[in-house]
Each structure stands twice: as structure tokens, then as C-alpha cells.
């Protein structure tokens, strides 16, 4: 169901405040006009920093001392995603390599080999004739 009207001390409310104040409102040609440009720069900088963390995590680069490795964001960055060569969507690397692309069904050579092995094993199981006494 719909969530309640904002709690003013809520963290998400703070995001809303910043979102509005930095990006909207009456634009006054004030003397400190740099603030607007600065703020836009800030947003870009935050995004750039996040992107570089994910990339660094992917390649196993070292992070500054004091980095908290226990966070959810860190776990997600470590797990990694891979682009499906067929449909181009980003999917979990593990799923793409060992199973198939959940979107287009593309199968990696590794997964195909595994599937064939399973098929052979299955065939072997049912190839033995069933003794007549066990037949219905």
C-alpha cells in the first residue's frame, strides 16, 4: 500500500529536499551564481565516484584504508554483472556463465557442455531395460 506522507526526519525526505532545492525553485540571478553550476558538478562527481568504485571492485583493485567492506553496495559490486552477448542486457555473471541469460536464453559454451553432460547422464539412467516382473 501507499506509504505515508513524509516524515520530516526521514532520510528519504532529505533526498527529496535536496532534489528540489538544488534543481528547482526560483532562479535568481544572484551574485553567487556559481552555486548552481557547483551543485550540478557535485551530482556528477558523486555518480562518477560510485561508478569508479564498482569498476575497481570488478578488477580487484585496492581501496583506501577504512573502506567498509561489509556494506550491501560492496557486496553487489563484488558479485558483478556481465553483459549478455546476444541481447546486451546486464545480468548476474554467475547466472550467465553457469545457466543461461534469463532474458533471451543465450547459453554459454560452459553451460551448454554442462547441459549435455546432464543429458547423457539422464540417458544412461533410463537406458537399462526394465525387468518384466517390475513392469506394470
Amino acid at each position: 500500500m501507499m506509504e505515508a506522507v513524509r516524515d520530516k526526519n526521514d532520510r528519504s525526505s532529505l533526498v527529496d529536499v535536496i532534489d528540489r532545492l538544488l534543481d528547482k525553485g526560483l532562479v535568481i540571478n544572484a551574485d553567487i551564481t556559481v552555486s548552481v553550476a557547483g551543485v550540478e558538478l557535485l551530482g556528477v562527481k558523486v555518480r562518477a565516484a560510485l561508478a569508479s568504485f564498482a569498476t575497481a571492485a570488478k578488477y580487484g583493485l585496492e581501496f583506501p584504508s577504512g573502506t567498509d567492506y561489509q556494506t550491501e553496495a560492496w557486496r553487489v559490486a563484488q558479485a558483478g554483472v556481465e553483459t549478455c552477448p546476444q541481447c546486451g542486457k546486464e545480468v548476474s555473471k554467475e547466472e550467465l556463465l553457469t545457466e543461461c541469460c534469463p532474458w533471451c536464453g543465450w547459453i554459454s559454451a560452459k553451460a551448454e557442455l554442462r547441459l549435455k553432460e546432464r543429458e547423457i547422464a539422464e540417458m544412461q539412467r533410463i537406458s537399462a531395460p526394465i525387468p518384466p516382473m517390475l513392469q506394470r
Binding site: 513524509r6 528540489r20 528547482k24
Partner: protein, 302 residues
């Protein structure tokens, strides 16, 4: 080095250039600001009038703001931005309760008091019109978050074509299973895409009817479907105060309708009308009229 340290340096070096931080522009020549402090916690709020407009301002030390702004290129001081943005917002919200107002953007500072008057004089008619348009109205924010897994399950459960194929899987060989599973995955994707394309126009249509104006934010393109709670839709609505119950009712109905599909609607407000201070529709119209009445003649042509 944070802004407080930077500010201390400027104090030590004796440069204390003052400026005036503008919070909002009100209709009328009086407003109750009591004894409230401004954004820096030092300068008091005061009013500056021009005809029927009033700017709410406070004196600030320019160096503190300049130092912070200059620091943007070097480091991110989120703490400073958050603290100051909240203070700015609280001041405007308090005034919004009793006044029609135009909230100013964060960090609008002028050097001289006379500049505030000059600014209001230059834009007097535009501000008067905007204040009339916003009188008795409030801004409400609506966001729709999307749960990929829940949405996928909803599509599976409610598409007979997919359900039947899934039931068939139990009776098939592994090889055939694989092919049918691929077909099912493609069907799920197809139905999800189709439904997703319809959801946003549906939300827009319902809420448009219940509001006076809308400002739709850039919708997030979902390219990481596995991430739960991605923001699917973001918009602000201008709603007449006494019509808010009707708007809220529509939102609740919409929320109940979309919840089984994994959509969560979140409403926030009332906000000062940050998203509606500019009347884009009218300014575009005015611009077109000016162009029509005073066409630009190219040199050499009559």
C-alpha cells in the same frame, strides 16, 4: 578541510564580506518572521519590500559560501549541503503555511540590499502572475518504485499462455524442457515490457485528472531489472489545498491497483511549489506571441 574550517580561515584573515541570502518571494508587504535565524544560524531573517512583493532574506558571510562552493571541485561535503538545504527548506515551509510564495533555489545570494529590490522590480509582473497562479495550492511529490521479482511473478501468474506452458514442462524431456523454458522466458519478457510501457501513462492519466499542473521528472530507464526497488516514475503535482483529499483518494486507489504488480507508490509533501515557480506553458506562449508580433528580420531582407 570542511566548510567550518574554511570559514574559520576566512575569519582569521579578516575578510568578512557580507551578502544576502534569499529564501523566497511572498505576496503582500507583511509576513510574520518572528525572531528566526537564517541559514547560517547567525543572521536574522528580515523582509525587503517592493510594491506588493516581499523577499525574505538574511545576512550571510559570503566567504563561507564561496569557500564551500569552491570546494565542490575538490571534495564532496554532503554534510554541509544537507544541513544548509534542510535549514533553507524549514524556513520556507514555515512561511508557506500563511503565505503564497515563490521558493528560491538553494544558495541564491546577492551582494547588496539594493539588488534584491532591483531584482523584484525587474520581474514584478511575472512574479505577481506566478503568485496568483500558486495561491491556495501546494506541491506534492509522487514516486513509484518497482520490484522486479514481484512484477515478474505477477506476469507469470496472470498470463494463461505462460502458465499453461509452465505446466507442460513437468511432462517433457530435458531437451524439450530447455526449448520451452526459453520460449517461456521470452514470453515473460515480452509481457513485462508491454505492461511496463502501459503503467507510466496510466499513473500520469489518473493523477493528471486530480491535479492542476504536473511536472514529470526523468523516468529511470530500467536496465538493471534485477535490482529491487528501482525508481520507475517521479513527478510533482500542483494541487489545490481543499482538493487534496480527492487527489489522495485517487493515489490510494492507484496504489491498491498497482501493489500486486510490485509497484510501491510513495507520496511526499506538502512542499513549497519549487517545481511550479516558472509557468513554462505561458512563457512559451508569450515567446511565440513576441516572435509573431516582432519577427526577426534577417539583414538584407524586407
Amino acid at each position: 578541510m570542511n566548510y567550518r574550517e574554511k570559514s574559520n580561515i576566512s575569519q582569521k584573515s579578516g575578510t568578512k564580506e557580507k551578502g544576502y541570502y534569499i529564501y523566497c518571494i511572498l505576496q503582500g508587504s507583511t509576513a510574520l518572521i518572528e525572531d528566526h535565524k537564517g541559514i547560517d544560524g547567525i543572521g536574522k531573517l528580515f523582509l525587503k519590500n517592493y510594491r506588493n512583493l516581499t523577499a525574505v532574506v538574511s545576512e550571510v558571510e559570503l566567504d563561507t559560501f564561496k569557500a564551500q562552493i569552491a570546494a565542490v571541485g575538490e571534495e564532496i561535503d554532503r554534510e554541509w549541503i544537507e544541513e544548509k538545504a534542510q535549514t533553507h527548506e524549514k524556513i520556507v515551509e514555515r512561511l508557506m503555511k500563511e503565505n503564497a510564495l515563490l521558493p528560491a533555489r538553494f544558495c541564491s545570494i546577492v551582494r547588496k540590499k539594493e539588488d534584491i529590490i532591483a531584482y523584484m522590480a525587474d520581474n514584478y509582473h511575472e512574479y505577481e502572475r506566478a503568485l496568483e497562479r500558486l495561491k491556495g495550492r501546494e506541491e506534492w511529490g509522487v514516486k513509484a518504485y518497482f520490484s522486479f521479482e514481484k512484477f515478474k511473478q505477477f506476469i507469470i501468474d496472470n498470463t494463461p499462455e505462460i502458465r499453461e506452458r509452465r505446466e507442460m514442462l513437468a511432462f517433457m524431456s530435458i531437451k524439450a524442457t530447455f526449448l520451452i523454458q526459453r520460449k517461456i522466458d521470452n514470453l515473460i519478457k515480452e509481457h513485462m515490457d508491454k505492461r511496463l510501457q502501459g503503467i507510466i501513462p496510466h499513473i500520469v492519466e489518473i493523477l493528471r485528472d486530480a491535479s492542476e499542473q504536473e511536472s514529470i521528472g526523468a523516468a529511470e530507464i530500467i536496465n538493471q531489472e534485477q535490482v529491487d526497488n528501482s525508481l520507475l516514475f517521479k513527478a510533482s503535482y500542483l494541487v489545490e489545498k481543499n482538493l487534496f483529499p480527492a487527489f489522495n483518494h485517487k493515489l490510494h486507489k492507484l496504489s491498491a491497483e498497482l501493489e500486486p504488480e510490485g509497484m510501491t507508490l510513495v507520496v511526499s509533501g506538502p512542499w513549497p511549489p519549487y517545481s511550479f515557480v516558472e509557468d513554462k506553458k505561458n512563457s512559451d506562449l508569450e515567446r511565440s506571441l513576441v516572435r509573431m508580433l516582432f519577427p526577426i528580420r534577417l539583414a538584407g531582407k524586407n
